[in-house]
Amino acid sequence: MTTPDPTEARIAALEAKIARLEGAVAPRPAPDWKHGAERFGLVGAWVLMILILGAFRPDQMFAWNSYATMLGSNAMVVVLTLALIVPLTTGDFDLSVASVMGLSSMTLAVLNVQMGIPIVPAILVVLVVGAIVGAVNAFFILYFGVASLIVTLGTGYFINGVILWISNSGTIAGVSMDLVRAVILTRLFGIPIGFYYALILALVLWYVFQHTALGRRLLFVGRGREVARLSGVNVTRMRTGALIASSVIAAFAGVLYTGMRGAADPSSALAFLLPAFAAAFLGSTAIYPGRFNALGSVVAVYFLSTGIMGLNFLGVSSFVQNLFYGGGLVIAVAISQLIRGRRPMD
């Protein structure tokens, strides 16, 4: 028999109280069908989009190979999005994730190609590098009390300089084919195996957020730091852990990115920041509406990439993709605000 954790009990009581208070000021609880529509609305929109695009390009839009290809090639975007949602859950923005992805990708190439270090130890080193970046972010955010947006904007820019420095501003090709095989050349049901790594990571995060005390504490910190602190939650430790986890996961995205190309370049990873943010916010409108959540993020990444794929098949100009991602981000944030009852964002 285990003794109940008094902190856990306090958190549970406070959560119940917050829920009662939210219920008192919020409109009546939505009926089940409406709640279901909210949860699976994005999935429904995804299916609808496939059907509409399929009406114009049935040969491509209804072909399994198209989806197998898309699922595999967006694995690192899924992982980068998952990296974002961890600190977003605790109320911190990490704008350095794409830079960490680029740093990881380039460090891996430098270690493996230029220094001849075998790929597995090299991967472990880059994950440690990711953890160090996360710790640095946490130090400046928590010790000095600087807004996460500013700190991670600065560290991201700093990292971009480090990437140019260690790469001598060039692209490095020739990364071990073992990694390429382990990311895209090996397939399961026709889908490059990198997709399954992203899926497993999403399931792990889903379990942690939905079914563990740690996940509840992270969520609680994000909802109200002072209340969480007064309830005995170690807010600093939670936020530190979230920022380090974010950078380590972003470093893993960099490993997948390198494995996908067998090469690393100094700047292209930065372009994935906006798609990842768009997917994180769009994902917060699905499965568990109002929360940044792993499964919603996966659905959102593939919702957006299905749209891009369809636009490609239709031969639409590439600028439309910018409209799609940028518009998607703003609309997603607007929808999540509606779900939150239009309360001001932190």
């Binding site: 501003s169 067998g262 372009a271 994935f272 990439s305």
Partner: protein, 359 residues
Amino acid sequence: MKYSAALAALLAASPALADLDAARALVEQYSALPTFEAPGAPFDARACMADKKMFVIPLTNANPFNAAISQGFVDAAEMVGFELRDWETQMDPAGWIQGINTAVAEGYDLIDLQGGLPPEFVQPQVMEAQAAGVKVTATHNWDATTQETPAFMDGAANTDYVTIGQIIAAWAMVQTDGQVNALVLGPDEITPTAPLRDAIIGYLEANCPDCQTRYINVPVNDWATQGQPAVQNALLQDPSINYVLPVYDSMSQFIVPAIQIAGSNAKIVSYNGTPFVLDMMRDGDIVEMNVGESLGWVGMAGTDANMRLLCGLEPVTKLNTPAFVFTDENVATAGTPATFNDGYGDVHVQGFRDLWQLD
């Protein structure tokens, strides 16, 4: 008379390249090691440059392509013995402007905007420098035949992008026996894209009745996020595509995974001779051919054109740097890892020494 003039014009427009043999000949011509052809008459460069100095502003020093061209300028200045400053920039207009102002303030005689720095972005500063008596030129920015150097520039040493595009198209034509189905990619916002793109597509249209092409514009900033899916989806849509022809080879890093994931057998043929792409060619099977040019040679040729302008000699408007075909057979000569200058021979060094009467 009228018909013979029309025929002559037609022949001039497509000079004996209307069949596979001609395509093969074009590829073979540029597969041979480059030879040095003097861009103009010899002159005493030391005497001409005795009291003059040159200022070079690259698009960005963070790009090894620009750094290699700058090194060519520096080497040439050392050979001749005049003062040359290579300005450090990071692709920022503020840095370019600061460079121009510094050159004017420190009394340089000529400013060269090299390797894609768009002079239009700094036109007011260019005109200000000219008012102060400084000549302003550009190296390796415009096409030598299809694009005009803007009137506000004092001169420019341009590249023969059309021939490069034709070599790429001819290669694909030869390899497929005239059955090319090519996906051509380029960032439209970059100055040389248009001549390269039009030369590739135009050559195939003019010389290969059974060949087909499709062009997709992917801006540089979107290569990572849009380049790969665009290629992937094009290959899914049309699995018979047998060549992907990005006008700049740096795109290859995003195209190789697209080809692999889509399960296509398409090959990549491109331009620039970028070292990591040559490494990809050496280590894999997807990058099949690359048209490169010695960037050290480009820097020296740019210096030559600038010296002629400063010394009042007949102007040179076309770089004499030849294109060179890299394949699996000769890619090892580019070095391991490859570099921007190896594999082309060094005939240009003695060529310029003789041209500048240094020995």
